[in-house]
């Protein structure tokens, strides 16, 4: 009981700057709980993206580094290659990871870099004011797709978890959601598994989390959850797409 209400040691005693009802806070908490439970805080290095979570370093109590927009996986590679004993994760939004940083994440995943990526998919650029992201849904209105995403011109939204699981290199790839408690329980399990694979030095591990951005979707927090469930979840299917055991067993 008490466990759920106690603040993880890995999480700072500090209010976040996130908008009311934004799920970034939930995700921070899950990551912090997992790091506490695995007792790796003292050898963990987090990498902040450029996006709303650029200030994530204020909310965690372990070493943190701020990368350039999209480059977190390359920075993580640098850390992990010279200090394989460290536990390293990147925390990235969909603009950061799937747009400007697509090359970095693809090559890190394909090399099987032994770090973990937490990928926050909220279908827009949050920080800069709601522009279209590669994950924006067809016909979804954003500030740079005022008439809705036109798939004839900019293609369909990218399913990053599926894309990364297509590589031959072993990896752990999962997509979960953080929209309601029932999803959050599973999301935490996936995050924990991802870190465990890293600790076992097994493979690249990646958890995509379907999230919200009430502010830029122009919805209340409650409406945003409903919209995400009705619109995002049918397209971004939840589940484990790839597991390092797949290859070894099969």
């Amino acid at each position: 009981m008490g466990k759920t209400f106690q603040k993880p040691i890995s999480l700072a005693e500090q209010d976040t700057h996130y908008c009311p009802g934004c799920t970034h806070g939930v995700i921070h908490r899950l990551v912090a709980e997992v790091i506490d439970e695995l007792d790796v805080r003292s050898r963990t290095v987090g990498i902040a993206p450029v996006g709303c979570a650029v200030l994530a370093y204020n909310y965690f109590t372990f070493d943190f580094l701020e990368a350039a927009h999209g480059r977190a996986p390359a920075v993580a590679t640098g850390i992990k290659r010279v200090r394989p004993d460290l536990i390293v994760f990147t925390y990235q939004g969909d603009g950061d990871l799937a747009s400007i940083g697509m090359a970095e994440i693809i090559h890190a995943a394909n090399r099987g870099e032994k770090f973990t990526t937490i990928f926050v998919n909220n279908a827009v650029y949050g920080m800069t004011g709601g522009q279209m992201a590669p994950t924006t849904m067809p016909n979804q209105r954003t500030t740079t797709s005022p008439l809705g995403r036109n798939v004839e011109e900019v293609g369909m939204p990218i399913k990053v978890a599926e894309l990364l699981s297509s590589f031959e290199t072993p990896g752990y790839i999962s997509r979960q959601a953080v929209l309601r408690p029932k999803y959050i329980v599973k999301a935490k399990k996936a995050i924990k598994k991802a870190f465990e694979y890293q600790m076992q030095n097994r493979c690249f591990s990646f958890v995509e989390l379907v999230s919200n951005c009430p502010t830029n979707w122009g919805l209340t927090p409650v409406e945003s959850i409903k919209w995400a469930e009705e619109t995002l979840l049918p397209y971004y299917k939840l589940g484990e797409f790839k597991n390092p055991d797949d290859v070894e067993e099969g």
């Binding site: 927009h69 400007i100 522009q131 500030t143 900019v154």
Partner: protein
């Protein structure tokens, strides 16, 4: 059309359309994302091309591609994004294609901040990418001037077949001021059939065109660099542009300042005048080529004891001012970074302190 109240970023977008540029590629970044937001609405109305690229790297090469076809094209970004574009800008200059880049500067280095800054002066005027090349760099001080400069930038880029940069600070992008749009530019890109990869059929020629920057032969590369050098020398002869303020009187100090900062200086100069202290100002409107003789002449006025460079950077323009003043007067600097634009009071104090 009359005067309209418009945000700098939106006015820049509209000005490009008025200049006949209907091709725009961009990636969001504060404080200039409104250009993309505006053009995402506006360009489809005029059958233009709007595309949000996956990164500034990609965007800048999309610009290269469009420019190589001889089409008018531009992009806008802010400091970190411009750094990512600097590679393509080097290729575009090397391949001698016209294109317009707008940098609505924010503070740096690295992620820095998002508030107004002039911290990319050196990057823009001296070293935006590898290799021997320069950009023609225009620095607006108001929304109206930003509009006029954007409209001038395209023909200039075509005249020199060289990238042109509009170097504005965050305030130029974010502020709303009345603007009056000049008439639509009537000029078309010139002589593009001579060099552009616009398709032999289109230009009714059997001669293919090649757009490239590779010259493996040292003599050829040297010759190419000499051609580029001659262009920059021609810019220095033909494109110098500046504004003088309060220079008809016998001023004791000369300020050199540009962009938003120069407007703050103007207020400070007016207030100092009321106190009986005369200060003149040269405001470069084009910062490359730099108005060297204008600064020299203004500094050599008998009454002038000192030259003060005032900017929102840690003194990036000082070198150019010193070079122009040629040691005949001491050159001082005042500035502030981080996004807090110095107030007229602070500028007044700084000028007085330098003079003492």
């Amino acid at each position: 059309m009359g005067k309209v109240l418009m945000k700098g970023n939106e006015a820049i977008g509209e000005a490009a359309i008025k200049a006949g540029c209907l091709n725009y590629f961009a990636y969001p970044i504060t404080p200039q994302s409104e250009v993309a937001e505006y053009l995402s609405r506006r360009l489809p109305e005029v059958d233009g091309v709007f595309l949000q690229g996956e990164s500034e790297v990609a965007v800048s090469y999309m610009v290269f591609g469009a420019a190589a076809c001889g089409e008018r094209v531009f992009t806008t970004s802010s400091s970190p994004g411009i750094s990512l574009m600097s590679e393509a800008i080097s290729y575009i200059a090397g391949a001698e294609c016209p294109a317009v880049f707008v940098n609505i500067m924010r503070g740096g280095p690295g992620l820095g901040g998002i508030l107004p800054s002039q911290a990319d002066y050196l990057q823009a005027t001296k070293g935006i990418g590898h290799g021997d090349f320069r950009l023609l760099v225009m620095a607006p001080a108001s929304v109206q001037e930003a509009v006029e400069m954007v409209m001038m930038a395209f023909p200039l880029a075509e005249k020199y077949r060289n990238p042109v940069m509009i170097l504005g600070d965050g305030l130029i992008g974010q502020m709303m001021e009345p603007v009056e749009f000049p008439d639509r530019l009537q000029s078309e890109p010139i002589n593009k059939d001579d060099w552009a990869t616009n398709g032999m059929a289109m230009r009714k020629s059997e001669q293919r065109n090649l757009v490239k920057s590779l010259f493996l032969d040292p003599e050829q590369l040297n010759a190419h660099n000499l051609v580029l050098k001659a262009k920059y020398e021609r810019m220095a002869r033909e494109e110098v542009k500046y504004d003088s303020y309060n220079t008809a009187v016998n001023y004791k100090a000369l300020v050199v300042s540009y962009g938003t900062m120069s407007r703050v200086c103007r207020t400070a100069i007016d207030d100092l005048k009321a106190d009986g202290f005369e200060v003149g100002m040269i405001r470069p409107q084009i910062v490359f080529p730099f108005p060297e003789s204008a600064v020299y002449d203004a500094a050599s006025k008998k009454s002038c004891k000192i030259v003060i460079c005032i900017e929102m950077s840690m003194g990036q323009m000082v070198e150019d001012v010193e070079r122009s003043v040629k040691g005949i007067r001491p050159v001082r600097w005042y500035g502030k970074c981080g996004g807090e634009v110095p107030t007229p009071e602070e500028v007044m104090d700084a000028i007085k302190a330098c003079e003492e």
